[in-house]
Symmetry: C2
Subunit: 348 residues, 2 copies
């Protein structure tokens, strides 16, 4: 029965041919269809955007002047934006300051009675360099609208003028102030990308200062590791149509934010911190996300630390697309489930 045949010899040969001892693998080019298992809206967004080019996206500013130009170009602040956003989401948004830090107050027009003492502290994304000003409130306003919980969106300081740890310091200062009027267990904190990473870094810092942690966290594809350790930075390069590559803007932002500090510092790359005592956490990512690994690694560390942590991975979804493809099932499921998670875990 088990006499070697042409077939068994072929298999033995293919096994020995099939491996090589190279430490870094060169993975060959592949053809990638539109993901058939994604929603129709997401498929359409991917088809319309077309294939991202790693080469074209490998650009990053090389001088402070270039950084400032780019930051200014991407920033949009206007009272009109806030008014329009508020009207579309049935809430009001106003600029404010807490503990000397610029914030936006987001107040749903209809707040459920059980939510009146609850608060969502929103931290915007943008690789710690972009996304400040009035634009920074958009996802926070959506979360406030879906959950009917008031929100404070923090317009934390950023480089080149204010690298790490200014962002962490700003959020902690606001949080300290909010603790005077809110139970910590009634406060949620979170955001997408750098906003998710910053949330984790802030909780590390809150713990080391002996302050009570919030009652729940939202980590939208958190930038939890600013080094290149995460596997999906490599596997999903050129596949994630939003981030495209680390070797350009993303890596440059990491350096600008860290300003010479070791990227393994848990206040910069919070995946390297201790996750014991963290509150219940909702996590979202996608199979094409370059931060799939950041999200999965944080989820695992939370679970090993005994924390309630709920990981959700969307088919064919690039970095933060659940937020970008407005109205898609991926968008709807994310913010509806997040709202339900907050209502379940926050103290009234």
């Amino acid at each position: 029965l088990n006499t070697p045949t042409k077939l068994t010899l072929f298999l033995a040969l293919s096994i020995s041919m099939g491996t090589s001892a190279a430490k870094n693998w060169v993975v060959s080019e592949r053809e990638l269809p539109i993901p058939a298992g994604a929603s129709g809206q997401l498929q359409q967004a991917i088809a319309e955007a077309g294939k991202p080019s790693v080469a074209a996206r490998s650009f990053a500013p090389t001088s402070e002047k270039q950084w400032r130009e780019l930051i200014a170009m991407r920033a949009v602040s206007s009272p009109l934006l806030l008014t329009e956003l508020g009207a579309s989401l049935n809430l009001s948004i106003s600029r404010d300051e807490i503990a000397g830090v610029a914030v936006h107050q987001i107040l749903p027009n209809k707040i459920k009675p059980q939510n009146k003492d609850r608060l969502f502290v929103y931290l915007h994304g943008g690789a710690y360099v972009f996304g400040g000003g009035d634009k920074s409130v958009r996802e926070g306003a959506l979360i406030a609208s879906m959950s009917k919980i008031p929100a404070v969106s923090i317009d934390y300081r950023m480089p080149p003028d204010h690298p790490s740890p200014a962002a962490v310091d700003d959020v902690v200062a606001v949080y300290r102030e909010l603790l005077k009027t809110h139970k910590p267990t009634a406060i949620a904190m979170g955001g997408t990308s750098a906003g998710g990473g910053l949330t984790l870094a802030v909780v590390h810092q809150i713990k080391s200062l002996g302050l009570p942690v919030p009652g729940a966290l939202y980590l939208g594809t958190p930038w939890a590791d600013l080094t290149t350790a995460s596997d999906s930075l490599h596997t999903n390069e050129g596949i994630d149509r939003i981030l495209v590559t680390h070797n350009g803007m993303l890596g440059a932002c990491a350096q600008l934010y860290a300003a010479g500090e070791d990227l393994h510092n848990p206040l910069i790359s919070p995946v390297y911190g201790d996750f014991s005592g963290f509150p219940p956490t909702y996590l979202v990512t996608g199979t094409r996300d370059m931060l799939l690994s950041d999200t999965a690694r944080v989820h695992r560390k939370l679970r090993v630390a005994g924390v309630v942590a709920d990981l959700n991975v969307y088919e064919g979804l690039s970095h933060a697309e659940y937020w970008m493809v407005t109205g898609s099932p991926e968008w709807q499921q994310t913010y509806e489930e997040l709202a339900a998670f907050l209502l379940r875990h926050l103290a009234p």
Copy 2:
């Protein structure tokens, strides 16, 4: 401030250059380091195995004779294997038959009192073609050992002699018989790869027959879609060192199992079924897994149907490696958390 500069012109150009309207993207080759965020044991296993070759793995049998040779070559059945496995896991394993179907009874030497009426029904993997006989009990025995719950491992019929729906029929026949002595809510069901997919197909069938569903499910990187729709079949081709490619053995097994039936039939590709009324489900996969998408898609469908579903994704992990790299943190976390999940959700 916003006057066009060389920088803004460069960016505008790179955005227009960065996209193309091609429907299928050709993603270029990339260099892949050993995943630094995986455990030391997993990193070592990956380094020792070396780079998988898509070309070498694109082989599949082309005749019934070749299939039978390969199946026979891969099968190992011996009483010694069962004795050794039982001794190493502190349990006893015996061959048996339920409702005319070959099974193995797995009895932990120490069963917790609250587990005496509970049962884990284990369905082995092997792409619906391989993995039968005494070898089929190994993961089921591990689950019984870790959870201290008795298990029945079903050696369901397989092609070429018995294609779909023989496997589903066998498991349903055994389940019907087990319902005479067990509460459905005290029965868990699950397995890895085809075992996970078969679990889902069986629950679809149980529902359509009007039988009560089990109390909990375990889906280890379930083969839930036998078509090529899942995105990670494409993104992780040549990266997943276990499956390597769909274009060979895996696709051939799908055809052999379906035997001419539409692969979209939910009893063959259960991701296309209706997930309402499914019991609490524990899911495991990895960032390099070619069935990452199958697992994530099933998780989403379960959640949208209101089912308790717990998704866990391991960094740098290929298909079913949590089971293969014995003793690794990935292995330990998977089976310890699964045991805790079963004890939490199964009726006593």
